[in-house]
């Protein structure tokens, strides 16, 4: 009875899920393929579990020594070769049944996408995600660059080509694909063909390879757009950010150029023509105002949270900016620059205006 109950619970939990970051909630062709393989393996595993555990439980109950047991000693059976062969071959056959679709799925998922596909270059940093679309270029020929929030068109394959700027990370958005490590000195790849029915959804994911302090806080959000919405989003992202001329945002821009650009960059509509301003050490802020979250999806992008982030970054997620070393390229977080409330409000006004 207990066993049946446990099994029922197990099956119920493993059947499907509508939890937002669940691998049992496939929303792409690739995640669906993995899910189908998983189900086959799971059902076979449950079958084996039931049979073997039942044999164990039956043995315990059937052959336990009863009180006042005066039965003779058991037969001193040493073994049975036919049985040994049988219970070696049957598991081997079950494994063959698992191996064939495993290999098929493995090679299928590893093969490069065919035909037209969207390309995204992913760079893992401690502790944020850099996304660049190498085929979507602005007027200056610079690729669309953003951070932490990814947009993908549904019904079309996107190939992520990934590497790391520092240590090993892993890009994992379970409803869309299995994870793949992001390794410095290597390129790794993930194919994602989101289901057309999922247009309009935002799928959460996060880093899955321990990368120190903010590993748990290195998250991502993937927006699934119709092709039209994706195009519209890309067009907006390619526009430069305007330089505000009055109000607190204008003062905020002064602060941006003086301090923030040491690490951050933005594509600015400068008077002489649009240009990139700042460094690419930290996330691109050109369209920060249109991102729904900040700090790599640790907080929603609200005025209050943005203020907190600039005022005291380590209160949002653990970092070690005191260990930053621009010579070696080791960047371990955003420092607290000790800005006062007015300065922060000006920066907030600037960034919120950069939609």
């Amino acid at each position: 009875m207990l066993v049946v109950l446990v099994l029922a619970l197990l099956l119920a939990a493993c059947a499907t899920s509508d939890l937002p970051q669940s691998s049992l909630n496939p929303k792409s062709a690739e995640a669906q393929q993995i899910d189908e393989l998983w189900r086959l393996v799971l059902y076979l595993a449950i079958a084996v579990f039931v049979v073997v555990e039942a044999a164990l439980v039956i043995a315990i109950f059937w052959f336990r020594k009863r009180k006042d047991d005066d039965k003779p000693e058991p037969k001193q059976t040493h073994g049975n070769t036919a049985l040994e062969i049988t219970w070696s071959i049957i598991p081997a056959l079950i494994l063959v049944v698992i191996a064939v679709p495993t290999l098929q799925t493995l090679f299928d998922l590893a093969s490069p996408p065919e035909g037209n596909f969207v390309r995204v270059n992913v760079t893992g940093h401690q502790w944020w995600w850099e996304f660049e679309y190498p085929d979507i270029l602005d007027a200056n020929g610079r690729p669309l660059t953003t951070a932490n929030e990814l947009h993908l068109p549904v019904g079309v394959t996107t190939e992520l080509k990934m590497t790391s700027a520092d240590v090993i990370h892993s890009f994992w958005v379970p409803p869309l694909a299995g994870k793949r490590d992001v390794v410095p000195g290597h390129f790794t790849f993930i194919k994602i063909t989101p289901d057309v029915s999922r247009a309009g959804e935002a799928i959460p994911g996060q880093c899955a390879e321990f990368c120190w302090l903010s590993h748990a806080d290195m998250r991502t959000l993937v927006f699934l757009d119709t092709e039209a919405d994706f195009q519209a989003w890309a067009d907006r992202q390619l526009q430069p950010a305007t330089i505000p001329t009055d109000g607190p945002a204008a003062s905020g821009f002064e602060i941006f150029t003086a301090i923030c650009s040491t690490c951050h960059q933005a594509f600015i509509a400068a008077p002489e023509g649009p240009e990139v301003f700042g460094e690419a050490i930290a996330p691109d802020l050109t369209h920060f105002g249109s991102r729904t979250t900040l700090g790599a999806r640790v907080l929603d992008n609200t005025t209050e949270h943005l203020t907190q982030w600039i005022d005291n970054p380590e209160s949002v997620k653990p970092m070690a900016p005191e260990l930053n070393n621009f010579d070696t390229g080791r960047i371990l977080g955003m420092p607290d620059y000790g800005l006062d409330a007015e300065e922060i409000a000006e920066l907030v006004a600037l960034l919120e205006g950069w939609k």
């Binding site: 939990a13 939890l19 937002p20 691998s23 393929q33 393989l37 998983w38 393996v41 595993a45 579990f49 073997v52 555990e53 164990l56 043995a59 052959f63 020594k65 047991d69 000693e73 058991p74 001193q76 059976t77 040493h78 073994g79 049975n80 049985l83 040994e84 070696s88 598991p91 494994l95 698992i98 495993t102 290999l103 799925t105 493995l106 520092d166 240590v167 892993s170 994992w172 299995g178 994870k179 793949r180 490590d181 390794v183 410095p184 000195g185 290597h186 790794t188 959460p204 899955a208 390879e209 321990f210 302090l213 903010s214 590993h215 748990a216 806080d217 653990p318 070690a320 260990l323 080791r330």
Partner: protein, 625 residues
């Protein structure tokens, strides 16, 4: 421990009283007990680390622990449990029982045996002291580069690089010792295929360690050099490769997990026959499966790297090899059930733990098979699903197996039996607590919760099962408290028993409980597998066991004694050599601190030199007087 048999023939009687007698002992039984007590202490330490982790994770967005503290805790939890608990517990059982099981009086190299123990103890103390002295390792127990080489402002990962290195040396020493002992010191007539399965599994694990530890030794030196001497083995920016570390680590790490499970499998292969009153079903198949697992265990290491980007050909190869290794594993499980089948089962505590081992290992083994389906593994790896898998095989497997061994062999070590009432409470609370802790983790992983995360947000459906897991963890802790109470109480005032309380099958049950320092007054001559059983029982026409007539024995039953029994003399040099080596290690850990590190290193060299020279120069046995 009193000597319970006459030892007038010993040329010299080593003192068994006082701390000094323990520090200088080369007696495998005392060394085994010291390994066991140390492991139990570190089990509590590792368990407290786990409880802190589980307290933090009981609720979403918890702020009980900082990320920095959490990272050190989960790293040390893994290092403690693998290197300071499971390996020394296995060493405890192997040290105490192997000579007894093969009819020998000690191991081949008693002082090396002591050296391995002291090196282990001093090294884990050094590793644990890191918490107070410079910070504990915080790169996970696998210490992946290049994170492990990124921050050299702290010595945390230097503790890791040196500490694990020292522990490896200790294990190599033990392994060489056991191989020499088992191959050369078996009682007359005990062929390899008449050895107890526990002894056989020790042979396999010893070879696994000797062949795999050198690989991680190289990897760790490379890590230490990258951190301290500017080498670039793992630096991608300088044409090194962080994946190199993963390969070196797992070529050791995978055989290591078989090292962690095979001794427990060996124990269960002993207890099940005794408490089923039948021989082990398919002894040869169980032995050969163990050997096959050892062999194949060297061919699957990259199944820990399925998401690392090795490419589909490598992934396919390692996936298939991993599936293959499930076959000999299954064979063992079926043979254990076959042992119970048709038997007369006594469901006492050691038997409950043995059965629990089988039940839990089936689950852990099956989740392992799901990992072998490579694309499915890309959803499971680095999530709580794999945390569930390895706890089912390491806790549900190894720990349960060692608990069975503890309840089974406690009477041999102490002459007293552990309380059955407390034992059953221990078992059931541990069984329920364990499943409540780790069962739900399968679900958490499949629902997208990654591992090694100091916190998780609301809204992802993870709170409930995390809360349950924490309740389970505290239940486990309480059960261990009962176990410790049982040990203390029973050692003091437990029911006294004779040499063979279980009516068992193997040679150790012929020795006194506890055994004399020389184990056997007379070494038995072996004619059968389960020799001791065959001195008590024959079979009738139906194959059922019947007691042999009083006084019946196959002659000659014992090796005729021709002279005195010469036991190895105690020595303090192994402990000194071990202390010197660990001091050298500490010096290296603090190398980056300049004179402090160099100073400790030099002192360590001097002490180690003193210990090794003294060891080499001292007479092997004191003269009789």
């Amino acid at each position: 421990m009193a000597i319970t048999a006459p030892v007038e023939d010993l040329g010299y009687t080593p003192s068994t009283k006082g701390v000094w007698s323990w520090l200088t002992t080369v007696d495998h039984k005392r060394i085994g007990l010291m390994y066991g007590v140390s492991a139990l202490v570190f089990f509590v330490v590792g368990g407290l680390e786990a409880l802190m982790i589980r307290t933090q994770l009981a609720s979403a967005d918890s702020t009980i622990l900082t990320a920095d503290a959490y990272n050190q805790l989960f790293t040390m939890h893994g290092i403690t449990m693998v290197f300071a608990v499971i390996m020394p517990v296995a060493a405890a059982f192997q040290n105490y029982m192997i000579p007894l099981q093969i009819g020998a009086r000690d191991v081949a190299f008693p002082r090396l045996n002591a050296f391995s123990f002291w090196l282990f103890l001093f090294a884990v103390i050094m590793l644990s002291s890191s918490f107070f002295l410079g910070g504990s390792p915080d790169g996970a127990w696998v210490g992946y580069a290049n994170l492990s080489t990124e921050v050299t402002e702290f010595v945390r990962m230097d503790y890791y690089a040196i500490g694990v290195q020292l522990l490896g040396i200790a294990s190599i020493g033990s392994s060489a010792n056991f191989i020499a002992t088992i191959f050369t010191m078996r009682a007359p007539g005990m062929t390899m295929m008449k050895m107890p399965v526990f002894t056989w599994m020790t042979v396999v694990t010893s070879f696994l360690l000797i062949l795999s530890l050198p690989v991680i030794a190289v990897g760790l030196w490379q890590m230490f050099f990258d951190r301290n001497f500017g080498t670039v083995f793992y630096e991608a920016q300088a044409a090194g490769d962080p994946l190199l570390w993963q390969h070196l680590f797992w070529i050791f790490g995978h055989p290591e997990v078989y090292v962690l499970i095979l001794p427990a499998m060996g124990i269960v292969s002993e207890t099940l026959p005794v408490f089923s009153r039948k021989p082990l079903f398919g002894y040869q198949f169980v032995v050969f499966s163990g050997i096959a697992i050892g062999f194949l265990g060297f061919g699957v290491w990259a199944h820990h790297m399925f998401t690392a980007g090795m490419g589909p050909v490598a992934e396919a190869g390692f996936g298939l090899a991993t599936m293959l290794i499930a076959v000999p594993t299954g064979v063992k499980i079926f043979n254990w059930i076959g042992t119970m089948w048709g038997g007369k089962l006594t469901l006492n505590t050691p038997m409950l733990f043995s059965i629990g081992f089988i039940a839990m290992f089936i689950i852990g083994g099956l989740s392992g098979v799901t990992h072998a389906a490579v694309p499915a593994d890309t959803q499971q790896h680095d999530s709580y699903y794999v945390v569930a898998h390895f706890h089912y095989v390491l806790f549900g497997g190894s720990v349960f197996g060692f608990m069975a061994g503890a309840y089974y062999w406690f009477p041999k070590w102490t002459g007293k039996i552990l309380s059955e009432t407390l034992g059953k409470w221990h078992f059931w609370l541990m069984f329920i607590g364990f499943n409540l802790t780790f069962g739900p983790m399968h679900i958490l992983g499949l629902n997208g919760m990654p591992r090694r995360t100091y916190r998780y947000p609301e809204g992802f459906g993870w709170e409930f099962w995390n809360g349950m897991a924490t309740i389970g963890a505290f239940t486990i802790a309480f059960s261990i408290l009962l176990f410790i109470i049982n040990i203390v109480k029973s050692t003091r005032s437990g029911t006294e028993v004779g040499p063979d309380p279980w009516d068992a099958r193997t040679l150790e049950w012929m020795a006194a409980s506890p055994p004399a320092i020389h184990n056997f007054d007379q070494v038995p001559i072996v004619r059968h597998l389960d020799e001791w059983w065959h001195r008590k029982y024959g079979v009738d026409e139906e194959g059922r066991a019947v007691p042999l007539p009083e006084g019946y024995s196959e002659e000659p039953a014992f090796v005729p004694e021709t002279g005195g029994i010469h036991m190895p003399s105690p020595s303090y040099y192994p402990m000194i050599a071990a202390a010197g080596l660990v001091a050298m290690g500490a010096g290296l850990v603090f190398w980056s601190s300049g004179f402090l590190g160099v100073g400790i290193l030099v002192v360590g060299v001097a002490i180690a030199f003193w210990g090794l020279v003294g060891w080499a120069a001292e007479p092997i046995t004191r003269e009789a007087h």
